[in-house]
Amino acid sequence: MIKRMVYNPWRNEALFIASCAERLIKDEMGYGTHSTNEIIMRIERDIADGVMIGAGQYLQFRLAFISREDDRIVKHVLHLSDIIELKRGAAS
């Protein structure tokens, strides 16, 4: 925990990806393509590093947002990316 006070790159990257997801949904200032590329680059890297398991040749991601509506927790899938060919090891 002490180490993570000074070095916590994975958490901060997760926060950046969350920002990318929000920008993508709002398509703030036309940053959709940039956000998509940032997310895909990291998925490809995680697959190449074995952090994420991916056996196929193609990649598609979805963005699911959880929110509270009255007393219910609801999950909405607000974005489904295009299907792209997986570049194995390209982003590692």
């Binding site: 000074v6 916590n8 790159p9 901060n12 920002s19």
Partner: protein, 227 residues
Amino acid sequence: MNIDEAMRLTEIMLGLAFIQQSVEHLHRPNDEKILFIPRIILSLLLIIGFQVAWVLIALVGVSLMILKRFSGPYNGGSDRMGLLILVCLTLAHLAPSHLWQEIAFGYLAMQLILSYLISGWVKIVNPAWRSGRALQDVFAFTTYPVSENLRGFAEQPKLLFVMSWCVIAFELLFPLALLNTNILVVALIIAATFHLANAFLFGLNRFFWIWLTAYPSIIWFQGNYIP
């Protein structure tokens, strides 16, 4: 603390905070290293006090390139605060007179006060925060490993209701701490503890270091402008 001492302390703390942030990018693709290695070198020069004005200008340039690389701040509020501190320090160094130097550095103190006050205002006008539900959801939905162990807090609505109002009250009352040096010191210790808890529980480590970096400006401001 006079303005020279406060600015020097801020420069050292900013240099350390920038190094902490930059090191987290060194295992990333080359296009990130190209930006963050120079930032580390410039931060070291800032810490030792070498050609401070030029180093600050160079850091502003690197920061703009980092903003372009990520199409905005990489780490939201903490990057914005870092940029604010950097710009205020740079303007204070380039200021044509002592008055303008105090205005530039005092602006940072004002923004620090507003960062707490506006945060408290946003919460108090939000029914979810007033009922404690917002904090319940934070604990219920977090994906950070440390706080996953604290999901039980989500089942304690009364405790979270009290905690929510403590946070709201502290943030809204924070500007009153300017009235007295001792109260300000206590308020800053409480605020730092709050940022530390966020760092431990939710992994928001960058916020802790960068918000502390702005504290010398408010200590100087209070000591010099509040009778």
